[in-house]
Amino acid sequence: MTEIWDGLTKAVQLLISLDPAVMEVAGRSLTISATACLLASLICIPLGSLIHFHHFRGKRVLINIIQTLFSVPTVLVGLFLLVLLSRSGPLGELRLLFTPTAMVIGQMILITPLLLGLTISALSGVSKEIADTATSLGASGSQAIRLVLKEARYAVLAAVMLGFARAISEVGCALMVGGNIRGATRVITTVISLEAGKGNLELAIALGMILLLLALIINIVLNRLQQR
């Protein structure tokens, strides 16, 4: 138990002293995950809406696949990207491996099924009559979708928060395609697992707390945005 209290104390210390290594890593975590979440949201919320509002053969199957991909292990995404971005791989030319960009891409891939699936489920909570009313009032397809998204804003926001959460808390992919390189691709979760492996449990716990603090800040910001 002492480790947990020590971890808390340590977290406070690190925060108060603005430990530069910690700040750097936290900043990188935030930047990478927020970028991944933002980009993925920009793609997935419209795409999920399109899927929800269109009827096509295989829609059920598609949704089932999306929901299945909720389970994709982060390491698998990491492996996949590693193979793809490796020097000998098809996208090796881009020299993206072990860069923050690769991590952003990895996290985007990782949270895409989540954002798609939850967008669809959020929209399914809005009665069809709302979309019909909008259409009757002359909304184009995308305008009607935007309105319905607004109606479902609470659930969509929860989806985005979850996407961000999944991105910032994952470690398998970040480790695999980022490599936890000090000063370059080290993020909070990779440090946590490094420190846990080293047996520095308090430090690992302290970093976990700092990560939660970051998440809290993002949530508060998103909530504020939604209320406007």
Binding site: L82, F98, G179, R182, T190, L194, G197, K198, G199
Partner: protein, 279 residues
């Protein structure tokens, strides 16, 4: 019929990843009617588990940390070959320096007992000059391998923290990865960089990599695996059995032959008092 006795072991990842433990586990379980539960961990957390008594035996390869563990009173004395000791050495092999076949720092030609130190000096010098061509990837994870790397830097005359981590990272030739051996090898391969690796992991990865062994000699490259019985463990009796087992001649023979069919050379050498020290 009684439940087999559980014996918990935490071992360093590189040792486990070779498959040696899986191989030995079945033999041990049959022989002692035990349930051997082995987990691969980073050196640090493995020792931490040992301290807490969550495992009965730890096997690692980091002399400094082992000494601290023993000094802390976390290791029980075990009896091997009639001697009593806290650190039971039971196998060894050598670390190797690997790098791209082009060998831009020219370390492949080095031989002799100081070859590793000289190689590291060359890498440091060339890297500082041309960090885009000559790079070194470090485990950076306080593992046994990382410990060895630090020892080599020190022996080569560097202040690790300042000259290597500090300046090397700033210059860009020293890449501190903070990850497992396998991932470090992959990274070195991708970045066409040098790295220090244990032989077992390198052999396992060799097929997928362009890296070649460049420095295989040198006294400092010795890698000794140790087993320690944890003071706070729950099953010291069975732990003693495991230690006895590891040093038993027929098992030592198995260890010596392990991996030969697959890689054409052994991954580990049996315990040798000359090399590993007594007992």
């Amino acid at each position: 019929q009684t439940e087999p006795e559980v014996l918990r072991v935490a071992t360093t990842t590189s040792l486990y990843d070779t498959g040696l433990w899986d191989y030995l586990e079945d033999i041990f379980e049959d022989r002692y009617d035990a349930d051997l539960q082995i987990q691969a961990k980073g050196t640090g957390i493995a020792l931490e588990l040992g301290m807490n008594g969550d495992v009965d035996v730890v096997t690692v390869h980091d002399p400094l940390k082992e000494a601290a563990f023993v000094a802390g009173g976390y290791a029980l004395n075990a009896t091997v070959d009639g001697n009593s000791t806290a650190r039971v050495t039971w196998a060894y092999n050598y670390f190797i320096i690997v790098g791209p076949a082009s060998d831009p720092a020219g370390v492949g030609s080095l031989t002799g007992s100081l070859a590793p130190e000289e190689a590291f000096q060359k890498i440091q010098q060339e890297g500082a000059l041309d960090p885009d061509t000559v790079r070194f990837v470090s485990r950076g994870d306080e593992s046994g391998t990382h410990g060895k790397e630090k020892a080599i830097w020190a022996s080569a005359g560097y202040n690790y923290t300042e000259d290597i981590v500090g300046n090397g990272t700033a210059d860009g030739w020293y890449i501190e990865a903070g990850t497992g051996m396998g991932a470090t090898l992959v990274m070195a391969d991708e970045l066409m960089a040098y790295t220090l690796t244990d032989k077992g992991t390198f052999l396992a990865y060799q097929g997928d990599l362009d890296l070649v062994p460049l420095v295989e000699t040198g006294d400092i490259m010795l890698n000794v695996y140790t087993a320690m019985i944890c003071t706070n463990g729950v099953n010291p009796g069975m732990a003693q059995n495991l230690v006895t087992f590891l040093r038993a001649p027929e098992i030592q023979a198995l260890i010596a032959g392990y991996g030969v069919p697959e890689y054409g050379e052994p991954l580990f050498y049996p315990w040798d008092p000359e090399i590993c020290g007594l007992p």
